[in-house]
């Protein structure tokens, strides 16, 4: 066995080295496939992350929606009475109102505005993100905000700055000035840079229809719930559904899947990634098959002088592995270098696990693609290959 491996590896390496131009070309094709697969994976992760970031990092376990809202946050409307009722349910440690809206951030240096997610949360309650710089929000009515680092980068605003929000209320554009007192990290909402505002301030400055402008009853979209015991998700869910009128409850996982377009987007990108891998298998398979067809006589000689099928097969596998590993390594390096050039606005996130899965899949496509050629190499008859058969 040791001899088989040593001879196979020797033959494989010698062939690759003496034909390095040809093999490098295939490695470069694999490198481009790697680049594509890693970018699709990173784009999927980035888009998914941008969509679910706030909810997945929420310091709670449940989200309460208005009944029949299909777990769509924007379609749900809940008021203070429901909040009180939710807080009374056994197992609920904390609950907070959460409202979403879109607004335009007036940039101090630019004529363009930045579209942001204007998120109303209750200071000190579930839903308020932890700041990494500055301080948490103080009261429900304060004219202060926490912004995401992504918002800060894209707007050029810093801690202590005053930001100006433009919203449409009724038929008029209104401008509101708010002071940035904290900066949080990794809290995008629906792929938009986020601005966290105390709930009652949010209710005052959010975009409103003509009818809502004079309404004094604040309405949130959903209620975020933190449990005393996170293991009791199902029983508390049932408790809230039974004890609070006209609501439906989702776990964070359910809520993420229900985010508009989230599942469709992820499955599209996964399919794209899968197809790219499949194309990789075909390309590598095709190359090695042609290569084996060109080497029939040579393999025949090897077999005739006493190299067994295991030696020929291991040499082919080893060669495929070498070419694939070099290709994936070059592709990985290229991806890393390219990723350094992308601005933070491009939703690309190189997550360790996703990238590792993609890399493992890429390393497997070589041997998978080469399987047919290996089978062909093993079946070569030295007699026929050398023209000795009658």
């Amino acid at each position: 066995m040791r001899t088989i491996f040593s001879v196979s590896n020797y033959l494989a390496i010698k062939e690759v080295w003496r034909n390095r131009g040809r093999f490098l070309l295939v490695s470069m094709v694999i490198a481009l496939i790697t680049l594509l697969v890693l970018f699709i994976a990173a784009l999927g992760e980035g888009l998914g992350n941008g969509n679910r970031e706030y909810i997945s990092k929420l310091n709670g376990e449940l989200i309460v929606y208005q009944a029949k809202s299909d777990f769509l946050i924007a379609a749900s409307r809940l008021d203070n009475n429901r909040l009180a009722a939710v807080r009374r349910v056994d197992g609920v440690a904390d609950a907070g109102l959460f409202g979403t809206a879109s607004a335009n951030l007036i940039l101090p240096t630019d004529s363009e505005t930045l579209k942001v997610a204007l998120l109303g949360i209750e200071p000190g309650h579930v839903g308020e993100p932890k700041v990494v710089q500055g301080q948490q929000l103080s009261t429900d009515l304060a004219e202060e905000v926490i912004i995401d680092r992504n918002t800060a980068i894209r707007s050029n605003l810093a801690l202590g700055d005053e930001l100006v929000i433009r919203v449409t209320q009724g038929i008029k554009d209104e401008f509101f000035k708010l002071r940035i007192i904290g900066i949080t990290d990794g809290q995008q909402y629906s792929l938009q840079p986020s601005v966290f505002v105390p709930f009652y301030t949010w209710d005052r400055i959010r975009p409103k229809s003509e009818a809502e402008v004079n309404s004094s009853n604040p309405v949130a979209n959903v209620i975020l719930v933190k449990l005393s015991d996170p293991a009791q998700v199902e029983s508390v869910k049932l408790g809230i559904t039974n004890q609070v009128n006209n609501v439906e409850v989702a776990s964070l996982k359910q809520a993420i899947q229900a985010l508009p377009g989230y599942s469709a987007q992820q499955s599209t990108l996964n399919t794209q990634g899968g197809f790219t891998l499949f194309i990789g298998i075909l390309v590598i398979g095709g190359f090695f098959q042609i290569q084996i067809l060109q080497k029939v006589a040579q393999i025949g000689v090897l077999k005739a002088i006493g190299a067994g099928n295991p030696t020929v097969a291991v040499a082919s596998i080893f060669q495929i592995i070498v070419v694939t590993v070099i290709g994936v390594a070059i592709g990985g390096l290229l991806t890393f270098l390219f990723s350094l050039t992308f601005p933070p606005t491009v939703p690309i996130v190189f997550n360790g696990t996703t990238s590792a899965i993609a890399l493992i899949a890429l390393l497997l496509i070589g041997p998978l693609g080469g399987l047919i050629s290996i089978r062909y190499a093993v079946r070569i008859e030295p007699l026929k290959a050398l023209g000795l058969s009658s």
Partner: protein, 247 residues
């Protein structure tokens, strides 16, 4: 050659038959061929096209199994061996040179020769030295590190001869080794081949259609229609009858 009763042959075939089925019936490619070859003996297998010499050579090379009969190499019957055992025999006991495409194109001359020792797990310092010495003896001292593509046909054949001999096989086979060479080169190659077989005491068989090459062999076996029809074992007889038979 003295074929005494007690003599142990390097290679002995006993009533070897190889048949193929075709639409027109059974074809006897090799029909009842018995031969004996001793160590140190170089034999030519000649005959017209379709006489069965290539089929015979393939069976002697453990590449093809006979339909019946025995092929004893160092006393072991190739006819009863399975694929794996035959691969081992080819690797350890047989040296082979072919008409063309002899060498592994991505290995240099010396690496091609060393390959036989690698396959037999016998590549050590002495083996490497022997490979170089053998190539030097074959006039390839300056070509050791050349790839096959950088060598002439004659040089490639000489590398193949070195490869066929380096692992001390019992039997060395050559299939039309001069087919792609000019006359002068062909004489050189066969003469060197014969010299090494005699010197290293191997049993050697060369299939050839070029009767002039029989000048360097000890015996000539003439095949026709699958049968061994005549053996010439006297040098003068070979020279007189076979070479004049050309005209």
């Amino acid at each position: 050659m003295n074929n005494s009763e007690q003599k142990t042959y390097a290679l002995e075939t006993k009533t070897v038959i190889k048949t193929y089925q075709s639409d027109s019936g059974t074809i006897h490619a090799v029909d009842d061929v018995s031969i004996q070859i001793s160590s140190g003996e170089f034999v030519a297998l000649v005959g017209p096209s379709g006489s069965g010499k290539t089929t015979m050579l393939s069976m002697l090379a453990a590449l093809l199994q006979p339909t019946s009969g025995k092929i004893l190499l160092d006393g072991q019957d190739l006819a009863t061996m399975d694929d794996r055992q035959r691969v081992t025999m080819r690797r350890e006991k047989i040296g082979f040179t072919f008409q063309a495409n002899n060498l592994v194109p991505y290995l240099s001359a010396v690496e091609n020769v060393e390959l036989m020792l690698r396959l037999n797990d016998k590549l050590d310092k002495t083996g490497k030295l022997r490979a170089r010495e053998l190539l030097a003896r074959l006039g390839l001292a300056e070509r050791m590190n050349n790839l096959p593509g950088q060598m002439s046909g004659g040089q490639q054949q000489r590398v193949a001869i070195a490869r066929a001999l380096i692992h001390n096989p019992s039997l060395v086979l050559a299939d039309e080794p001069t087919a792609s060479l000019d006359t002068e080169r062909a004489y050189q190659v066969v003469q060197t081949f014969a010299g090494l077989i005699h010197e290293q005491n191997r049993a050697g068989i060369m299939v050839t259609h070029d009767l002039r090459m029989c000048e360097f062999v000890d015996r000539v076996l003439l095949m026709q229609d699958g049968k061994l029809v005549r053996t010439y074992d006297n040098h003068d007889e070979i020279m007189n009858e076979l070479i004049s038979a050309r005209h």
